[in-house]
Amino acid sequence: MGNPNVGKSVIFSRLTGVRVIASNYPGTTIGYTQGFIKLGEERAEVIDVPGTYTLEPTCEAEEVASQMLDTGDVVINVVNAINLERNLYLTLQLLEKNIPVVVALNMWDDTRHRGIHIDLDKLRELLGVPVIPTVAVTGQGIKELVENIPRAISPDSPVRSRDERWAAIGSIIDQIQRVTHRHHSWFERLEDASVKPLTGGIMALAALGGAFMLIRLIGESLINYALDPLFNNLWAPVLLRLSNLMGGSGFLHDIVIGKIAGGEVNFIESFGLLSAGLYVPLAMVLPYVIAFYLILGLLEDIGYLPRLAILMDTIMHRLGLHGYAIIPTLLGFGCNVPAVLSTRILESKRERFIAATLISIAIPCAALQAMIIGLVGEHGGQYVAIVYGTLFVVWIILGFILNHTVKGFSPELLIEIPPYRLPSWRATLQKLWMRVYGFLVEAVPIILGAVLVINILYFLGVFNAIADFTAPLITGLWGLPKEAVTAIVIGFLRKDVAMGMLAPLGLTAGQLVVGSVVLTMFFPCIATFVVILRELGVVSMLKATGVMITAALVVGGILNLIL
């Protein structure tokens, strides 16, 4: 346990070998993760607890932390050595509980160049528990920490009031810590510049613009130079041979390979398991998932995101949120599921509702974006821009409406800003791999399942029945061909597959824009749906769904009239 952003998750990974997502901003860990270590002959369970400043919780992530305390036998209190005074408040609270504590004094390497001198022996004596200096990112001190876990003790501190605790901390700090003067580093000048209105604004535009261009560059390069050649030159001939073996048509043939027109495989329009079922996730979506999470990971590890939160705070308040909600929102561009989960870092239920609703309506996930860029982009970049522009306007207007209709007020921003750090390539790539692996094992089976279901439903004629039934809405309001309803229905399973289903319909650019926007807004995919339900409850879920459907109907209709 420990304050936010002191490196608990990194220490946890070092202790247990379990890989967890760690970033350079407070609130990365919102649930808890378990792992095991060997202590002599025994196997002990270790739990990674979300960060908290006190045992009197102020948000849901902190509540989780306080509850976890009761389940443990020993607390490893991770403390930030460069900010000892504030970190000791939680330490003293822990020492008052009847539970053995060992302190890991993390980021020990940073103290020297910050001119901080800490008398370790004196600190051990004053706290009455083992104190081990560690550098979690390099692994220094972890062995000593493990050796000292059995030596953790509970010193039976008297229960103090808040002011008494601070007084005690003051006296400890006076005895053990000396701070010498040092000069401003280059990093710190950059830190200051990024939270000032003018320079910060320029930096934010540069960072986000640069991030967007890099993501497109990496994503497109991967598609054009690696995956497209691979599929076209190696996989297509295999499929054609297989198609011949299976007789070139028939129910089973269409499920496995899809319809083959003119002796050529069109990977999107041949809607089979081995054609679109593999091409969509691996050659269209995966490249952008890799590109997005690489850039996001870098921004996270540098420590830029909380600074963006400060810059966005004024705008976000108009939407009923405060600046920190920008972090779940950015995560949403990767996948809406972790985004909705990470709204736990927001203080009130109202904020969480607004943030989750806005994310699931107006933020397309990386998979959907990849398909939008791939399909709409064929008609020209301006159409992609219309899709993003519309979603952005929807985000602003809807947030504004929600802020004025949902009862309550938006709490104020209060966050600690981490120092900038140079990301370690190893850690960043490891995090990228975890996220990409997560996509592969979670998304690919669902995509294959969706393709299978679609083919069976087509075969049974179910889609035709639905299409006739919903034609007034789809054609009348949105100006899409009635077959497009199948995509809307499948959008509940996977939006990237749904987008792919629009490809064979021969839509105009305008219709594709309407289709993309409606697909993004209309309904969350099943995974997001379940998470919202679990996180916000049935009532909020129903409300959010109502908002989504209404908004999609209205916006789709308006777009149809304009385009």
Partner: protein
């Protein structure tokens, strides 16, 4: 002549240092700010403030903290003379 004026955090100049005198607010606010190391008697330095009543960023000990405008408005600070 030494200044002994008290200001709110929002009124401080950027780069100015001061000692926190009082936090005007309920128990909840005081607790949250205390947890981040902001409490009476603490020396802080204002680093920046956003336009349009945006958050104020301060340095307190080894950490930087961003505080929403309304909260910053309730933190009373006595500026200290720069030693130069």
């Amino acid at each position: 002549m030494p200044e002994r004026k008290q200001l709110t955090l929002t009124q401080m100049r950027i780069g100015q240092s001061g000692v926190v005198i009082q936090i005007q607010g309920g128990h909840g606010l005081v607790n949250r700010l205390n947890a981040l190391g902001i409490r009476a008697g603490k020396r802080i330095t204002k680093l920046s403030s956003m336009i349009m009543r945006g958050p104020v960023t301060i340095q307190v000990d080894g950490a930087q903290v961003a505080i929403g405008f309304g909260m910053a408005h309730r933190i009373i600070v006595e500026p200290v003379q720069a030693i130069k």
